[in-house]
């Protein structure tokens, strides 16, 4: 097994996710870390945002993560041997108004990582673009579509449910243009 300081973001996320799972903490990786993994680090993130549907007691999380050397620091968890840090944003696991139905699983040599699917990751980034006008997140969504299979119809359905159909229509070409190279 690799040492933590040699792990990539994905490997570390898988290692942490597996360790949490073994200790009864069931969570899913979300946010920018998923973009990093799906874009092979073309977008670099340093925070591992794990979301639980049923929130564990903070004391339990602190105890479990301390076993692998992560210490709580200002509401985050840091490790001396890695630049990546762990956060537990408040649940539930949702993208906009909808719960996440089926996360993906990727196996790394360090463990099993449960994370948002590429399609849900695009929706997650678009939620930030639609609701917070975060243009960087739109770029990240487009980056994901360049190298992953995403379900554009599903993204359209979800955008409509968010009340953002016209916004979707205005960016659809960007997403499709990238997607057709697959």
């Amino acid at each position: 097994m690799k040492h933590i300081k040699e792990m990539s973001l994905g490997e570390l996320a898988a290692y942490v996710c597996t360790h949490l799972e073994k200790n009864g903490i069931h969570c899913v990786l979300t946010g920018g870390a998923c973009v990093s993994i799906y874009t092979e680090n073309r977008y670099e993130s340093f925070d591992l945002d794990f979301v639980e549907n049923v929130t564990s007691k903070r004391k339990h999380i602190i105890k479990v993560l301390s076993k692998i050397g992560f210490k709580e620091y200002n509401k985050y968890f840091k490790h001396d041997d890695t630049k990546y840090f762990i956060d537990f944003p408040a649940g539930p696991l949702a993208i906009g108004r909808e719960p996440v139905r089926k996360p993906d699983v990727i196996n790394f040599e360090t463990g099993k990582l449960v994370l948002l699917s590429p399609t849900d990751s695009v929706k997650d980034r678009l939620a930030a673009y639609y609701h917070w006008n975060d243009k960087q997140c739109l770029d990240q969504a487009v980056l994901i579509t360049e190298t992953n299979n995403v379900d554009i119809d599903e993204i359209k359905r979800w955008s409509e449910r968010e009340g953002k159909l016209s916004e979707f229509d205005s960016i659809k070409e960007k997403l499709l243009h990238k997607n057709k190279h697959l």
């Binding site: 408040a90 949702a94 906009g96 108004r97 719960p99 609701h131 917070w132």
Partner: protein
């Protein structure tokens, strides 16, 4: 009205203020309710940690709003709307009355 549910009168105040006015900052909310600033700041911090509200900085001021990405936003808004409907009209008006249209600097009111 929601104190038994939310566990804090100031949390209710913060939510009602942000719902009624779309946005607000700690000192403004504390001033409006004539309450302790630190108590309002504490509730803003907790609500933000829960992803129920979000903030951005405008100049030196941290401005808060209800988080449009909060999965239960519609339901929360319905609840707050109902709470507002129980307020006496003059109280409700005070809370909702804030000029949002642009107005050129220096133009008399």
């Amino acid at each position: 009205m929601l104190e038994p549910l939310l566990g804090s009168i100031n949390r209710e105040r913060v939510l009602l203020f942000l719902y009624s006015r779309d946005q607000g900052y700690a000192r403004e909310i504390a001033r409006f309710y004539k309450t302790d600033l630190s108590q309002i700041q504490k509730q803003l911090e907790r609500l933000e940690l829960g992803n129920i509200i979000y903030s951005k900085t405008l100049g030196k001021t941290r401005v808060y709003s209800l988080n449009p990405r909060y999965p239960f936003l519609e339901e929360l808004q319905s609840l707050l709307e109902k709470v507002l409907s129980f307020y006496p009209p003059e109280e409700r008006e005070k809370l909702t009355l804030s000029r949002k249209r642009p107005r050129r600097k220096g133009k008399p009111l």
